[in-house]
């Protein structure tokens, strides 16, 4: 097997000592603060979650109605024309009609706050369930709006996946037993997709500068998730190799040159294992058993994983810019949108963190951002999450791959439909940033069980690259995204199995 210039199995007589200097390629980075919550006293938790559903319905109703209107305007069934009904309670038995509402799934296995309170004082998180679907098929689906609820049935419901919180238009009739039998549904579908470089050019125009006609060819970015530093059986060597590969030390020749073309590393959640401020029920039960000690208790709080993460980032930062999103197990806030991991967690990365008085200077290499997060990289709009939103939707439905769920969420125009029902969420009052306003070009979700990517198309020619980023600890995989073609390839770091 021939190995060109990547072969370093060389004897002293032939040592190569002259190596080209490697310079990292540059990408334009322009993040958005869509998911940043108000700071300090402006952050309130007194609001009712009902407002969120109301808001969501109000904001999406027009778009969904439009879609339904186009689809069902001349729809006839057995000579009967479909009519539009304003509110779900206006549906009359036997009439063919369509109505817009919010889905609510009544599932026996779904965690229920009232049950939890009646059982015990609610201190730890509810037990993690693999699926909310009840095994005996007793789950019910409702369509609701501000007026009331309608129980819905039909083959269409059974064959399609719906989750609490998505807004749809449903076509059907009310049957004798009072249920609304659906024969078809419509959703809002992808919103408008900005042009590439749109935001950057807008800013240039506003600043009175000339719009750049020619831009350098964009290179690649790397996305990784689920490093889970500090997990019990973590393979530390994999993380070492990742670090060395990204900084251009490992491998050789073409591989090193390839690493230098990576302009940014995005870490999509779960960088540290078991560091969520709210322990899971299992962790809590475990902690109860251990006798309480006073003062510093290394069993109750272990600073080493956070330290290792800091060191990992600090080693990489001089060479490659990093954007880090928090995930479910990270030491950040727990409710969606999770706020950036606090800079105090990264004392060694201080040199690369932007000073607090220059919030819009994105030339500093380290950016701790929200989850979900969106921003422009090389002109493309990226939308990413730590993966909780997708994982939670997965619990509602039987077999759906992460990518299908991600596609559905974009089509519903809501990236966290199950919040606040089964996903912790900030009680938004006036505006819900979890609704998708601009269709991203790339939508990635971290910590998915399986790596995958696909391109989906929208009604107005939108093209979105969906990426399911697997956990690095499980798979050793890193996603490389080409910022010119939006093509994806994987790097997999895996030690060879030892035969003993």
């Amino acid at each position: 097997m021939a190995v060109k210039n990547g072969n370093f199995l060389i004897h002293e007589e032939n040592f190569i000592t002259d190596f080209p200097e490697q310079t990292r390629a540059f990408s334009s980075y322009n993040p958005l603060d869509t998911f940043e919550l108000p700071k300090g006293v402006d952050k309130h938790y007194q609001q009712q979650y009902a407002d969120m559903y109301f808001l969501r319905l109000a904001q999406l109703k027009a778009a969904v109605e439009q879609k339904a209107q186009d689809a069902w305007e001349n729809f006839e069934l057995a000579g009967e024309k479909a009519t539009r009904v304003e509110r779900v309670l206006d549906v009359r038995q036997g009439e063919l009609c369509w109505v817009v509402g919010t889905i609510f799934m009544e599932m026996t296995m779904k965690p229920n706050i009232l049950d939890d309170i009646s059982k015990e004082h609610w201190i730890a998180a509810p037990p993690v369930r693999e699926k909310y679907i009840s095994p005996n098929g007793k789950d019910e689906m409702m369509l609701e709006d501000e007026s009331g609820r309608l129980r819905v049935t039909g083959d269409h419901v059974a064959s399609n996946a719906f989750v609490t919180g998505c807004i749809i238009a449903a076509l059907g009739t009310e049957t004798a037993d009072g249920a609304f039998e659906i024969i078809a549904t419509q959703h809002a579908d992808f919103p408008r997709q900005p042009q590439r470089w749109e935001r950057d050019e807008e800013a240039l125009v506003l600043a009175g500068e000339k719009v750049k006609r020619k831009r350098p060819k964009a290179e690649k970015i790397a996305i990784v998730s689920g490093l889970e530093i500090g997990a019990d059986d973590e393979d530390t060597i994999n993380r070492d190799i990742l670090l060395e590969w990204l900084e251009g030390a490992a491998a050789g020749g073409a591989e090193q040159a390839r690493a230098s073309r990576i302009t940014r590393l995005i870490i999509a959640g779960d960088s540290v294992a078991n560091s969520s401020p709210i322990p899971s029920r299992e962790e809590f039960a475990e902690a109860k058993k251990i006798q309480k000690r006073y003062g510093y208790d290394s069993e109750a709080y272990d600073a080493i994983p956070a330290d290792l993460l800091d060191q990992f980032l600090c080693d990489l930062l001089p060479s490659i810019p990093i954007t880090i999103l928090p995930g479910a197990s990270d030491p950040a806030s727990v409710a969606i949108p999770q706020q950036p991991i606090h800079p105090a967690m990264f004392p060694k990365c201080r040199e690369s963190t932007k000073p607090p008085d220059q919030p819009h200077d994105h030339l500093y290499a380290f950016d701790s951002v929200t989850n979900p997060w969106q921003g422009d990289v090389d002109g493309w709009r990226l939308l990413g999450t730590g993966g909780q939103t997708v994982t939670d939707v997965q619990k509602y439905i039987e077999h759906e791959s992460s990518l299908d769920i991600m596609e559905a969420m974009l089509r519903w125009r809501c990236i966290a439909p199950t919040a606040p029902d089964t996903l912790w969420c900030y009680p938004f009052q006036d505006d819900d940033p979890l609704l998708v306003r601009d269709c991203p070009h790339v939508y990635f979700a971290g910590n998915q069980p399986k790596a995958g990517t696909k391109v989906v198309a929208g009604p107005a020619g939108q093209r979105v690259t969906l990426i399911a980023v697997p956990k690095f600890r499980d798979s050793g995989k890193v996603v490389l995204l080409d910022m010119e073609t939006l093509g994806v390839d994987f790097i997999q770091i895996a030690p060879q199995k030892i035969r003993s």
């Binding site: 490697q22 591989e255 001089p318 810019p321 607090p356 030339l363 399986k450």
Partner: protein, 449 residues
Amino acid sequence: MDKYKDYLVANVLIDGKIITYRLLSRELKVHVNLAKQMLFDFHDKQNAKKPGTVHATYLITGTKRPGPSQHSNGIHSQDGEDSIMQSSPYMSSMPEQEEVTDVAEEVVPVTSIILCRQEELEETKAQLEEMTSIHVYSLEPGPLQNMNLISLCNQEIVKKFAHQDPMDNWKAYGTIHNPHVKRRATRRPPPIASEATTAPKSIAQTSSTVQPKEKDDVTAQTARGSQLAVAAKKTDAKATFKREKSDIFKSFAKANAKPKAKEAEKSKEYTPAIESAEQSAHEDEPMKDVSEDEYEEDYTPEVEISKEKNDAARKARAEREEKLRKMMDDDDDDDDDNDDVPMDDAPIAEEPKDAPIERQPQKAAESASVTVSGGRRRGKRRVTKKKTVRDEEGYLVTKEEAVWESFSEDEPEPKKLKTVAPTISTAKGKKGAKQGQGQGNIMSFFSKK
């Protein structure tokens, strides 16, 4: 050029340590790619001389052959079961089959980076369709049972070379350089010993005994440093090995370890960089940063970060920390002081009488009305104490209060004072304390209790 052989003989063969190319490149300050070749050369030649003395792990990159072996790439690849799974059908509970059935998903090219031991090298190569690079990743005395042990090398790099500014030596190590990013001019954390900023005075005194003329000459400081370094080098040869710790690598070693290399490495590091502490005490400005609180609005640091300034600051920093680090190293084995700098002895012997006064905590305590009677000093000083009270709502509130406290000279010194004065009087007592603080050593975990 031949330094690497000595280094590897000492560390791998004698000490039985694992050495990666990255650690070697740091130790010898050479390009990582050169270090990879050195490892290979050493491995090859050493095993030619005496087969089986050195064991290697390789890092291979390339694309795997399609087919059954690729199938197990997904979730289970961590186990590296590729070779075993080839013939058997996939019986896992994971919905792996979907990969095949799902048409909409794209087939994504996967580049594999595989770390393997020399035993599995051929087998690994056979799995690859195309190999893009291969090099020796690490050398160790015998076959590894757990690859994660290699991580200790990177931990060592972190400990030993944390003070080095990556912006200065990317070139030497061959790290990908990023000229596009801004960096803030903050102080790098000193290597291990963060207690470096107290007690500048007594150190300054010792330094003045060494080179009294140049005491205040700032510009001459670097010159002095190098001068001393030369002096130290001369004494290198005499220095004897004192530090022998229990070492996890020992368990891998076949031969009895002769600590030659450690000695060399230690003496290399030794330079009495004394003035640096004084310097850093001045320049240890409070870190104004977000970490203090949630984004404080009232703070406005210098906005302009000119490149020259940055560079200059960085250089100064690097210099300072280099010295500081050396001082730290020098500090933990006091025996060196005896051997290497004989002229220290006389002045220091007189010092202890005054030293405690100067080494009183500057932040926490300020003395007032000190009286001296019969060689004893008495007085009051101000000490910050923590006080916890329960407020009206039932919460425990901890306050810091300044309290006047009387003291006399024979009192033990306040604990929070971590002196680094290299005086003989304190050095002995400190040896024990030193182990307790700073980063816990992984080696201590394995040592017998």
